[in-house]
């Protein structure tokens, strides 16, 4: 059995590997809650939505394997959330709501909500990519990138702290950015 970590979850999903419940839950619960709010579900329904979506992924076991033939995972996830939201709405109206009634609800989702979903998903992907980066990248390179870019220290100081040359700091920066770009592209496919 291969174990997914927070860092390798998305790539594992993309590869079609088995992923664990807990990691999946932690990662995608905020996204599902966000989408539930956009669909005008109340708090209880949003919690139920999370449970329904998770159950649909992990219906048979504690692990989940993604079938690539279903398309991009983000679209698949989005579609799954919509379906489960519709189920919740139907249950709210005693199953009398038809598909025609649901269409205005979905059409009424504002564009800002779509943008928010995209942004949130992108942040999730970026977070995943950074975790993935930790598994691929040399710690010195990452530290150098962190101190230089995120902590905003001068290259010379970073170099003296890590015992490397100042030029290397710039090289590390470009290397990390290139790797991040590549990982994000892979995850977003």
């Amino acid at each position: 059995m291969a174990f997914t970590t927070r860092g390798s979850l998305l790539s594992a999903v993309r590869r079609g590997d088995e992923v664990g419940w807990q990691e999946f839950y932690d990662m995608y619960k905020p996204l599902i809650l966000l989408r539930g709010g956009d669909l005008r579900l109340n708090q209880t329904e949003k919690e139920d939505l999370v449970q329904l979506v998770m159950l649909s992924f992990f219906s048979s076991s504690r692990t989940f394997r993604y079938d690539k033939s279903k398309g991009r995972f983000r679209d698949y996830l989005k579609k799954m959330i919509h379906n489960k939201a519709c189920d919740l709405m139907r249950r709210r109206q005693d199953g009398t709501v038809s598909a025609e009634v649901m269409e205005p609800v979905l059409a009424a989702i504002p564009d800002e909500a779509e943008d928010r979903w995209e942004t949130e998903y992108r942040e999730t992907v970026l977070k995943q990519a950074f975790e993935e980066l930790k598994l691929r990248c040399d710690p010195t390179t990452l530290q150098s990138y962190d101190l230089f870019v995120r902590q905003n220290l001068p290259a010379k100081e970073v170099a003296s702290l890590l015992g490397i040359k100042a030029n290397t700091v710039y090289q590390h920066k470009s290397r990390v950015e290139e790797m991040l770009r590549q990982i994000v592209k892979e995850l977003d496919e």
Binding site: A2, F3, S8, K134, L135, L142, L161
Partner: protein, 831 residues
């Protein structure tokens, strides 16, 4: 299983310390009041592997439990659905409120990042324990801050529940960040000791940063300002890098890194990774990329095959052109040629013969020769670097198309052998002996040379040696540069010539020439570029032969000796043993000429020509050239000739014979002379010398001609016949003169002795009244050849009561002088 089992009656639970996937840990006390930790493991949770875990515990207890940095296990018991074991309990960090076990994780939670000094000692102790564990072929597999406890302040590895060496199951609950990535990704499944090192590195990261393990490798910048933490940071980076080959692999390496020394293995690994692993990785990526786009791959393979085909075709063509004798027809022809020249064909294979040029066609009148030049390359030991050039006359076809038909049928000797029998003999002796290895190292040896000519003085400004020089010749010329302020040209003109159809008169003007110009000022001698004029060219069509090896040398207070050596395939010019010009142009025989453009009197004190051909040691030299011996010059103007026509007119000198055939008709051989031709010739020469001396000396004996002697050196004045009766010539031997030593050599040795003595500082100490010795005072008694080369001259200086021997040897580059048996009076002086 959060409830304490009722069937454990020997212990009383005090507190639940924690519970995990495999069971719970309690703080208990026994009947005596001792505090212990008790861990209960549920067999149902572990599943079928509980027996292995149980076996591992027993092994741990018996083998390694006594180590101070490993937690001690006191009791293990199997209770059906579960088993439990008791062990040392961690110190209590709670200050009276319950039990707060002293684990590293709790310390971090309580204090944040830990001080460097404590950490270093703590991890040193932990490394001891880990090393002991690994030496017992066991691995911990679950090292993390929570599993490092302090018992009485001593750090120990706790939670040894996963100890095993065979299980393939890894604990993941809460420890993912302490497992190497290759195990997380499923690339590796067999656990090794390296995972403990990795986990310990992560533990150290948590301890010195206060961060969680999932924040690795980020460190707060202010922490890195502490040099101790920088060492920890470097260690953690080395221990927890994702690249497995670069990681620290043993507790010993970890300990070294903890002391601030990242081992050379780590550094070398990084270097290897950069140099080898990364290129291979990139190459694999490239190959995968190409395989993903197969048309690019096929295109590259196609281009590679085309390139290979072109290379093979080119090589095949070159092979065919460069080595035509690989064809059996040519090989047979060449072997036949070698046989004619008595070359042992077994010693060289045909591939040693490289063509210098392709077939060349030379037109000689109406017919033309097709020649093929080949070179013996310096491939075999013994063959000189500069190869011997051979020319094979392949045939005499009328056009190029018939070359192949006549090739190999009409083989001839090299054309150079067809000029004179003498040259053919030379070639057979010289060239082919070299090929056969008889004389490989030094084609020219001074001790084998044979003097063939001493040139007398010449009255005009040009010195021309008209008789043909020997094939391998050495021309020596000694002159006084102090007397010259102008230009000198030494010209060698080739003896051979090719009678071209358009040339009616084979004149010397149309022969090949080598010119060596030099300019003499009062202070230095400046050498110009040696020039070459090919045959049938005019004076304006000179080519550069070679540059001088020395640009200029200062004029010294003595005579200069210029040597021009044309031997084998080179021509070299030396001045006082120093190589001035060197050329690899073949120049056999010829004439020598010196042209002087100066207003003053040019003094040539010595001129000699040697036939420098091969004379084997012990073999009697047989002079090949029937050259006349030069008459002894008159005493007064013996070694002096004037470069100025004006001076020459004032001091008329008779026409000196240049050869026997050019003997003046005014001096017929007496009919009554019945002696041998040699004796007769000697007498004739003496007569000529007498006539010359009387013609020159007569005016000087007159008193009104005294001013004309002003230009004559004092030593010469002393040696004038007018004073010969009254004053003995100082250079004349007082006892037995050196027999067989020519007068010019006699004077040369005198000069050399005087110069060498002048350099003897030791002599100045012995003789306080020492003054410079004039060369004329040196008396040479006798001389003989030295066994190692050169001559040994016995000399004395009566005025200083000095007698000694001097060995003089002039080798090409070195003028060797050495004294022996040096006496001043009766006292022998060690020099």
């Amino acid at each position: 299983m959060n409830r304490f089992p009722s069937n454990i009656k020997a212990y009383r639970p005090i507190a639940l310390c924690g519970s995990g996937a495999y069971g719970s840990v309690y703080l208990i006390s026994d009947a005596a009041g001792g505090r212990y930790a008790l861990k209960i493991v549920d067999k149902n949770v572990i599943g079928g592997s509980w027996e292995r875990e149980f076996r591992g515990l027993k092994h741990y207890r018996t083998q390694v439990s006594e180590h101070p940095n490993l937690i001690k296990i006191f009791h293990i018991e199997d209770c059906g659905d579960f088993f439990y074991y008791t062990m040392e309990a961690a110190d209590d960090l709670a200050e009276g409120n319950g039990y707060f076990p002293a684990t590293l994780a709790n310390l971090i939670r309580k204090r944040g990042h830990l001080p460097a000094e404590n950490l270093r000692e703590t991890f040193k102790s932990l490394l001891d324990g880990l090393e002991h564990l690994h030496n017992a072929k066991m691995i911990h597999r679950d090292i993390k801050p929570d599993n490092i406890i302090f018992v009485n302040g001593v750090p120990k590895f706790g939670d040894i529940g996963l100890l095993d060496t065979t299980t393939h199951t890894l604990s993941l609950a809460g420890t993912q960040d302490f497992v190497p990535p290759e195990y997380l990704l499923g690339q590796e499944k067999e656990p090794t000791a390296e995972i403990d090192i990795y986990a310990l590195g992560k533990t150290l990261y948590c301890a010195f940063t206060g961060n969680d393990a999932d924040e690795f490798p980020f460190v707060a910048p202010e922490l890195l300002k502490n040099p101790e933490y920088r060492i920890f940071n470097r260690l953690v980076r080395a221990a927890c890098t994702p690249e497995r080959s670069l990681r620290l692999k043993s507790a010993a390496a970890f300990r070294k890194a903890l002391a601030g020394e990242i081992g050379w293995g780590y550094e070398f690994g990084r270097f290897l990774h950069a140099v080898v692993v990364l290129p291979i990785y990139l190459a694999i990526r490239l190959v995968l990329f190409l395989f993903s786009r197969k048309w690019i791959l096929f295109l590259l393979i196609f281009l590679f095959l085309v390139w290979c085909g072109m290379v093979i075709k080119t090589y095949w063509q070159l092979e065919k052109e460069l080595y035509p004798w690989k064809n059996g027809f040519h090989a047979a022809a060449f072997k036949r040629a070698l046989k004619e020249w008595h070359i042992q064909t077994g010693k060289y294979d045909l591939y040693d013969f490289q063509p210098k040029s392709d077939f060349s066609v030379r037109h000689y009148g109406e017919r033309h020769l097709v020649t093929k030049e080949v070179y013996l390359r310096a491939k075999h030991p013994g063959i000189p670097q500069e190869s011997v050039g051979l020319t094979i006359m392949i045939g005499f076809p009328e056009d190029n198309d018939s070359i192949r038909q006549t090739m190999g049928i009409k083989l001839r000797q090299p054309d150079i052998t067809q000029s004179t029998p003498l040259k053919r003999e030379y070639l057979h002796e010289k060239v082919f002996d070299r090929i056969d290895g008889n004389d490989l190292q030094l084609p020219y040896r001074t001790e084998w040379r044979n003097k063939v000519m001493l040139l007398p003085a010449a009255p005009d400004g040009t010195l021309k040696y008209r008789p043909e020089l020997p094939l391998i010749s050495e021309v020596n010329l000694t002159f006084d540069p102090r007397q010259i302020n102008g230009k000198l040209h030494f010209v060698l003109t080739a003896a051979e010539y090719v009678p071209l159809p358009n040339r009616k008169i084979p004149d010397v003007q149309w022969k090949r020439q080598m010119r060596f110009p030099l300019k003499i000022s009062g202070r230095e001698i400046i050498f110009g570029d040696a020039l070459y004029r090919d045959q049938d060219k005019t004076e304006d069509e000179l080519q550069l032969l070679c540059k001088p090896k020395l640009k200029k040398i200062p004029v010294e207070d003595r005579f200069c000796k210029l040597s021009i050596i044309t031997a084998d395939t080179y021509c070299r010019v030396y001045l006082d043993g120093r190589l001035i010009w060197g050329s690899w142009l073949a120049f056999y025989g010829g004439h020598f000429e010196m042209r002087c453009k100066t207003d003053k009197v040019l003094k040539v004190s010595h001129f000699s020509v040697y036939d420098a051909g091969i004379v084997r040691p012990g073999e009697k030299r047989r002079s090949r050239l029937k050259l006349p011996k030069a008459p002894l010059p008159p005493k007064r103007e013996t070694n002096t000739f004037s470069a100025s026509p004006a001076v020459a007119r004032k001091t008329p000198s008779p026409e000196l014979p240049r050869s026997v055939s050019s003997r003046p008709a005014a001096m017929p051989r007496p009919a009554s002379d019945k002696s041998s031709p040699a004796v007769r010739q000697k007498k004739e020469v003496k007569k000529i010398a007498k006539a010359v001396s009387s013609a020159v000396i007569a005016p000087s004996s007159r008193t009104d001609d005294a001013p004309k002697e002003k230009n004559i050196p004092k030593s010469r004045q002393k040696s004038s016949p007018a004073r010969q009766k009254a004053v003995k010539p100082p250079f004349a031997p007082q006892k037995k003169p050196a027999k067989g030593l020519p007068r010019t050599d006699y004077k040369y040795v005198q000069t050399q002795v005087a110069e060498c003595i002048a350099r003897l500082d030791m002599l100045k100490e012995v003789l306080p009244e020492y003054q410079a010795i004039p060369p004329e005072e040196v008396v040479i008694d006798c001389f003989h050849e030295h066994e190692k080369g050169g001559n040994v001259y016995e000399f004395r200086i009566p005025s200083r009561k000095i007698r000694a021997k001097i060995r003089i040897q002039d080798i090409l580059f070195i003028n060797y002088r050495a004294f022996a048996d040096f006496y001043v009076g009766d006292k022998k002086i060690e020099l």
